[in-house]
Structures are given as C-alpha cells and as structure tokens.
C-alpha cells in the first residue's frame, strides 16, 4: 500500500475549492473591518471556474478511484459536479450583488463566501465517493455550512429562528440516516458501497431482510431531508422564508441536487444487487420491484402536498418552498421507474433545467423583494410596467417550472412522464399530470400579478448588473435547453458513460 503512488491528480477540483476557501478565510481575517469584501466573491468565483476547468478536463475518462474507493471519479460524479459548480458560480454573482454596501443585515460577508465554498466542497464529496463514511462526512460538511448560512443575518429574528429550526431538523435527519447506515454496516461489516452490495445480497438470502429494510427506510427518511420530500419536508417553508434570498436559492437548487446525488449513489449501488428467489414467482430484484413502491409513494405524496399547500401561500419564498417540494417529487419519479441508462440522462436533464429556471426565478425574486421591502406576492404587482424584461424573464421561469412547452421544464417533465408510462406505472404518471395542472393555478397567480394588477408604484425598477446577468443566463439556459433538448441529452449520453457507476476498476 503506497499512498504516494495513488493518482491524487483526480482530486484537483476538490483541492482547489478547499484551498480557495482557506485563503479566503485568512484574507478575510487579516483585512480591516471597514473594507468592501465583495472582491472575495470574485476570488471565490475564480476558484470555482478553475475547479470547473479540471472537472471538464477529467470528464469522460475511465472511472478512477483512490483511497480504497473513498474517492471515486466517475461520469455520474462529474455530471453532478458540473451542475454544482455552475450553480455556485451563478450564486456568487448573485451574492456579490446581494452583499452590497446598502445591505446592513449581513455583517459577516467574508464568511458568507467561504461558507458557500465549504458547502460546495461537501457537495462535491457527496457526488464522488463510494464509501459510506466519506459520503456522510461530505453530507455533514454541506449541512453544517448551510446551517450557518441560513442564520448569517445575525440580528434578524426570522433568520435566527429558521436557522435553529434547520439545525434541529437537520440533526435529527442526520441521526436517522446514521442509524440506518449502522444497520447496513452491521450486516456487511464494511462501508465500501461495492462490498456492501455484494455482501448485502448474501445477507438477504441468509434471512437478514428485516435489517436491510430497516436500514433502507431509515436512510430514505433521513436523506429525504436534504431534498425536502414528504416524510421530511416540514422545515422547507420556514427555512426558505427566513434565509437570505441567495441562501434560499442555494438550498432550493444546489443542496437539493447534492441530496439527489447521494440518494441515487447509495440506493442504486447498495440495494441494486439484492435478489429474491421464490419457488413460485422465480427471482426478482428487490429494489426495483419492491422497495421502489415506497419511493413512488413518497414522490406522489410530495407532488400532492407541495402543489396543494402552495395554493394558499402569500409569501413568495414560502410559495417557492412548496413548489420545490413538488419539483423534488417529480425528480424522484425516474428513480422509481429505473429504466435502463436513460434514467441518468432524464434525472440530470431535469436537474439542469431546474438549476436555470430556479436560480433565475430567485434572482428576480431577490431584485423585486429588496426593491419593495416585502416578500408578499403583491410586490410583483405591475412588474410588467416597471420593468418589462424582468417580467418577461420571470414569466419564462414560471412557465418552465409549470412545464409549459418550449421551455426546459416541459421537456424535463415530458421525459420523466414518458418513463413512468413506459414502465406502466400509470398511477404515478396520473398523479404527476394532475398535480402539474394544480400547480398552474399558483404559477399563473404570480404572472397575473405582474401583468394585470396595478402596483403601488409605477417607478422603473432598476435591475443591477450582476442580477441582470444571472437572470439573462437563466433565460438563455431555460429557452435553449427547451428549444434544443436533444443537444443536452446527446452531450450527456455521448460524453458521460453513466453505467460506469456500477463498474469497479
């Protein structure tokens, strides 16, 4: 075992992010208090871009793993890392705008930037490891950073309260996840996902199915906290409302994508191999025919609860929270109907679409709510007359979230819907269709405010340059992905061999 002989180069993106975060924290510490800290955001942005360069450079290569699978570079991880890095880059631009000199709410600006970077590090570890311990440490690096980010407005009552709620619900979720992991460890004696997969199959034959089910359900419930689907969604509205808007965008897009990365990685590689032999029914794969039913129930419940409760909301960030619960339900559907290699491209396509439309929507929400000083939906009234381009951009994001054609959201939903129908999972497809129609009511409610309701003021809304950039990128992404969905799908399928997730070099 020669540690120096390992291919440490594959960890370059992670090292860059770690180094940038460390340097930013030191610069921030030794800089006079009254200096403008926004250039830290630009430094962080450069670090993210450098990391992205290396991720793209390593893309498409054969899977590499070092440290006994504790770190694993494969196409699955690369795709998720690209989503994270794009999201964080846009978020940094948005935050540089948010943390301007007028904003006195956030006193700890340097901390804001490097906590986003440490959270990013956690997410990248979550996406590219094949070991339960490392995955768990990544999950916690993300969690602990985001607890602080939610509470970063130290004097703000809502921010304090939502941060505490987030810590408590997050820590309970961690404990539940770990309790599940301990059972899986107990019957396999290893934390390596591939070894677990092998030994779990034999443990199932030996009659330890109860412990496997226990581990599966506890981990499902615990991890559903990160993606805010049904058994663990109650924190989302309060935390989304209390967090600063860029952090809300972070939680709703990036933290959620990382949650999906860890859920897909663990469930597909650990529970995939369990085969049940029955004398009358022959053999079947337990995960894909038995356990998937429970994931389907969670997905359906998230769609129903998220979309119906969103109808009653008057606060825009709470509404987006319920909307994101429903969106997470949609993204779970491909996992239920795991159907060949298309599964990965369907999920990732929706995540890419979701990234652009949600970040764009939050950029608009940030501009409008800071301008009006309220987070009520009525702050959007008359937006079309105040700033037509912002209103049109927001309309595109909302149409995409609702799943109206020629937007990215439509194709994302369409592929997921078709996979559900092809798999003959008609009831789930029906729930998805029905709840999508319900969602039109509240999405169109905002659009109606923007075009048809008279606002309190007719003054032109000045959109600052960084926010305008993020909105423009969001519109471009949403429309381009919506017009040419094949381009994205082809890129994903040609450059990234997702099935190498199951291969162990």
């Amino acid at each position: 075992m020669d540690i120096t002989a390992w291919n440490w180069e594959v960890m370059t993106p992670e090292f860059i992010i770690l180094g940038t975060a460390t340097i930013l924290s030191l610069i921030d510490l030794f800089m006079p208090d009254d200096r403008d800290r926004r250039f830290l955001g630009i430094l962080g942005l450069l670090g993210v871009i450098a990391a992205g360069f290396y991720v793209i450079k390593f893309a498409g290569a054969e899977p590499v793993q070092i440290m006994n699978d504790m770190f694993r570079l494969d196409s699955f991880g690369t795709a998720f890392k690209l989503i994270f890095l794009t999201g964080v880059a846009l978020l940094f631009i948005l935050s540089i705008q948010y943390l301007n000199r007028q904003n006195q709410e956030v006193q700890y600006r340097g901390e804001f930037f490097y906590l986003v970077l440490t959270a990013l590090l956690g997410m990248m570890i979550m996406a590219s490891s094949a070991d339960l311990i490392t995955l768990f440490v990544g999950l916690e690096v993300l969690s602990v950073s985001s607890y602080i980010l939610v509470g970063i407005r130290k004097k703000h009552l809502y921010s304090n309260e939502s941060a505490f709620k987030y810590v408590v619900s997050g820590a309970i979720a961690t404990a539940i996840t770990l309790y599940g992991m301990s059972f899986i460890y107990g019957i396999t004696g290893t934390t390596n996902l591939y070894d677990i997969a092998e030994r779990l199959a034999s443990a199932y034959q030996q009659g330890f199915s109860l412990m496997i089910y226990l581990g599966f359900f506890l981990m499902l419930v615990g991890l559903s906290f990160k993606i805010a689907v049904v058994p663990y969604h109650m924190w989302a509205p309060d935390v989304y409302q209390g967090a600063p808007t860029p952090v809300t965008a972070f939680l709703s897009v990036l933290s959620k994508a990382a949650g999906f990365a860890i859920i897909i990685r663990i469930f597909l590689s650990v529970f995939r191999s369990i085969v049940n032999y029955q004398s009358d029914a022959g053999s079947f794969y337990v995960l894909f025919q038995e356990l998937n039913l429970y994931i389907a129930i969670l997905a359906a419940a998230s769609m129903i609860i998220g979309n119906t409760l969103a109808l009653r909301q008057t606060n825009i960030k709470r509404l987006m929270a319920y909307s994101s619960i429903a969106q997470a339900g949609y993204i779970l559907v491909p996992l239920v109907t795991f159907w060949g290699i298309n599964f990965f491209s369907q999920t990732l396509f929706y995540l890419v679409a979701y990234l652009f439309m949600t970040l764009g929507a939050f950029a608009v929400i940030m501009v409008v709510t800071t301008d009006r000083g309220t987070e009520d939906i009525r702050s959007f009234a008359g937006l079309y007359h105040r700033s037509p381009f912002t209103a049109i951009a927001m309309t595109i994001f909302l149409l995409s979230l609702a799943g109206i054609p020629i937007t990215a959201g439509f194709f994302g939903k369409f592929y997921i819907f078709m996979s559900s129908v092809l798999y003959e999972n008609y009831w789930l497809a029906a729930v998805m269709m029905g709840t999508s129609i319900i969602s039109y009511i509240y999405y169109f409610g905002i659009i109606r405010q923007m075009y048809m309701r008279p606002g309190d003021t007719e003054a032109r809304l000045a959109v600052p340059l960084p926010a305008a950039f993020v909105i423009a990128v969001g519109v471009l992404g949403t429309v381009a992905v919506g017009l040419f969905p094949d381009l994205v799908l082809n890129y994903l399928n040609q450059n990234l061999q997702f099935t190498d997730m199951f291969a162990r070099p």
């Binding site: 540690i3 460390t22 924290s25 030191l26 510490l29 030794f30």
Partner: protein, 121 residues
C-alpha cells in the same frame, strides 16, 4: 448461553451489595455517633458561608463560547489517536496529512483569536 445468564446473577449480587453497604454503614453510624442536635449543625454548610439567592441563576454567556471552543478542539484531537496508533505503518505521507489537518485546526484557532473570542472583556 449459561455463561450469559450468569452475568445477570453477578449483576444482582452487585446490586444487593450496593444497596446493603450504604444502608449498613449509615445504620452503624447512627448507633455509634452521639446524638446532639443544635441549630448550627442543621445549616447547609456548617461553619461555611450561608448561600443566598436562588440556585437557578444564569451563567455568563461567555462561558458557553469557551465551552463551544473547547468541545470543538477537544473532539477534533480524536483523529490523532488512530493516526498515532498506526504511525509506524503509515509513515511520512500520513505525517504530512496530519500536519495539514492540524494547520486547518490552527486556522480555526486564529479565527477565534481574531474574532476576540479568547479575550475576557
């Protein structure tokens, strides 16, 4: 399995001994000591300072910050133990890795120092 049930017998014996010992000691003491009560003897601290106020008082919040710092740095040293145990097999590379780990911890300490957590105002 019989060995396992023997454990419970042991536990029961210990339980009985544990109850018996203080009871016996106190009973003996009661017979041996002179019984001469007067008011000073019944105060909480005989020949000490009388306690005043309520027992549920608020501690200064600074203690909590110290406690937090202590907990973090105390617990992080846990990772030094497995490294020290396997030091001979891991060699120089692990030493460098551990140094990086400790440097990161020191940055945490510098953070606490610059944020004036270590000062008692």
């Amino acid at each position: 399995m019989p060995l396992y049930t023997n454990n419970y017998v042991l536990v029961t014996i210990f339980l009985f001994l544990g109850i018996l010992l203080p009871v016996a000691a106190l009973t003996f003491g009661r017979f041996l000591r002179p019984n001469n009560l007067y008011p000073e003897k019944q105060t909480t601290y005989e020949s000490g300072v009388e306690p005043t106020g309520e027992s549920w008082i608020q501690f200064n919040v600074k203690y909590y910050i110290y406690a937090l710092l202590f907990v973090i740095f105390d617990v992080e040293t846990i990772f030094l133990y497995p490294w020290a145990v396997a030091y001979d097999k891991l060699g120089l590379f692990a030493l460098i890795e551990m140094l990086i780990f400790i440097v990161l911890l020191i940055i945490g300490l510098i953070y606490a120092w610059k944020k004036k957590v270590l000062e008692w105002k």
